[in-house]
Symmetry: C2
């Protein structure tokens, strides 16, 4: 489902982007945060906190859960990573500068999660909020199903 021609490039780009965003905002893009983000991007699809922990552990040493969760919290709060609640997993944000209206197409076959935006969806959600006098703050929209590749469309 993913369409980067060279995944190494997209990892590198994500890290460069993240660093520059952190610099712009006066946030510290520490070694740990970089490594966690790198692992999130290296895993092609959503990755679980404890899988990150295992991989970090192999590379560094004796990493404990709070360390990973704190890095993930930082990355999530700053829009560099999204949590996929229906999977308890984390995925890199592909456009961290305008990410609030995003949703995920999650293939139950290959496990990839494609991040998408849709003006229609944003509008439909806003409309629903107005109709219900509800002020939306955060939207979780996760669509599981089967992607074209896995259905043999190509």
């Amino acid at each position: 489902m993913h369409n980067c021609t060279s995944h190494n490039d997209c990892i590198t780009e994500a890290l460069v982007r993240a660093e520059s965003i952190c610099n712009d905002r006066g946030l510290r893009f520490t070694d740990l945060r970089r490594k966690v983000l790198e692992l999130v991007w290296t895993s092609h699809g959503p990755i679980k906190a404890y899988d990150i922990l295992d991989k970090l552990d192999a590379r560094i040493a004796a990493i404990k859960p709070p360390t990973v969760y704190r890095a993930l919290d930082f990355l999530t709060e700053n829009g560099l990573v999204h949590k996929i609640n229906s999977l308890n997993a984390f995925v890199g944000c592909s456009h961290p500068l305008k990410h609030s209206e995003c949703y995920f197409l999650i293939c139950s076959d290959c496990g990839e999660a494609k991040e998408c935006c849709s003006a229609d969806l944003v509008e439909a959600i806003a409309k629903t909020g107005r109709r219900n006098e509800f002020l939306p703050e955060h939207i979780t929209l996760e669509i599981t199903g089967e992607c074209g590749d896995c259905r043999g469309l190509h």
Copy 2:
């Protein structure tokens, strides 16, 4: 946010409805399943599995987690209950006969979750699927925010 005039009635109705649905489908609406569904409905908003367990334990005895999860699985599979992934909690389905296109407005203040439908949303999601050659199977749409009541609109 909820608008039932008598919550006792809406619990009773939900149980009657559930029983009739199970009968129609040749499913067994056992005592345990009834009690779990009753607790889900009695809790005004989303309730956690272990809270159900505690309450059951007080009423019956020595209930263990698998017992509760199995009942919740049954209720969820049959559309009588929904799981709210962003809260790890469960809520009764308010219209179990046509529930596939539903989403939740979750008030972060009062904790209630209102189940809604919207043709616009369904269409926007379907369109997104088509555009991405993605075949949706299950949709998780959870909108957190603040409801009108909690913002003092009434």
